[in-house]
Amino acid sequence: MILLTKRVEFCAAHRYVNPRWTEEENQRVFGKCGNEHGHNYVLEVTIQGDPSPDTGMVMDLKDLKDLITEAVVDRFDHTHLNRDVPYFKEKVPTPENLAVVIWELLEPRLEHCTLHRVRLYEDGSFFVDYYGQRGSPG
């Protein structure tokens, strides 16, 4: 079994707000993250599978890049997550929630291999890992 990772980037704006809370509660919990701002997100998608006896590849990296571009990057790049993504009208667009959405978008599209991990960097000092509902290995 081999793990294979493709890295892509996208840029998006967001603000943290829970629509069920008052303005004061949002300000107290989220502080400056409640202001509109943006990030250059770096997304690492790790799949696992066995190399094909014919090609020696788990998955063609070009195909994986195209799949991630179509499912994730084209959808989120240069958007405002709160305004442009219906899911985030009710959920706070944190990296945690974004990683879960990205998993749900990618996982059904993969054939002959398994999605292992979605790692999403908000910046160089903050990232999240999601391994699906089964949780992290080990």
Partner: protein, 160 residues
């Protein structure tokens, strides 16, 4: 409008029937410290042979990078696993404030290990942070001595 935007299609991803996803959140910190690898139970010749240049009597130092990973359910209210500001304050108070611009050899007790290898320092950091966080929250520490040398301690893994 957003709903008419083709990019937004299929983004109404169901949250799996209300199951709360478990996510790992990692914050990175930096600190600069001096140290010297030296085990007083070894002879000078043995120390020099085992630790080489790291045994320089005058010491040396590194710009360390520490990654702290918390694992837990995503709060339905905040969308977060951990309040990053609270975690930052805890790590700075328990670890960074003690080691930044300091000599690690002053912090290592005999019970921590024989000398201030990054393995031993990572074990010390694990105990400092695990004891200050709710049970089971700390999932992994990654301590980079240089970008080329790094050490990881994981819950239920080796090295603790």
């Amino acid at each position: 409008m957003a709903n008419a935007d083709p990019r937004a299609r299929e983004c109404n991803v169901a949250s799996r029937g209300g199951e709360v996803p478990v996510v790992e959140v990692t914050r990175a910190y930096q600190f600069s410290a001096a140290h010297r690898l030296h085990n007083p139970r070894f002879s000078p010749a043995e120390n020099a042979r085992i630790y080489g240049r790291c045994n320089n009597p005058n010491g040396h130092g590194h710009s360390y990078r520490l990654e702290v990973t918390i694992r837990g359910p995503v709060s339905p209210d905040t969308g977060r696993v951990e309040d990053a500001q609270l975690l930052d304050a805890l790590v700075r108070d328990r670890v960074i404030a003690r080691v930044d611009r300091a000599n690690l050899d002053d912090l290592i007790a005999p019970t921590d290990g024989p000398t201030s290898t990054t393995e031993v320092v990572a074990g010390l950091f694990w105990r400092l942070l695990d004891g200050a966080l709710p049970a089971g929250r700390l999932h992994r520490l990654r301590l980079e001595e240089t970008p080329n040398n790094f050490f990881e301690v994981e819950r239920d893994g080796v090295g603790r």
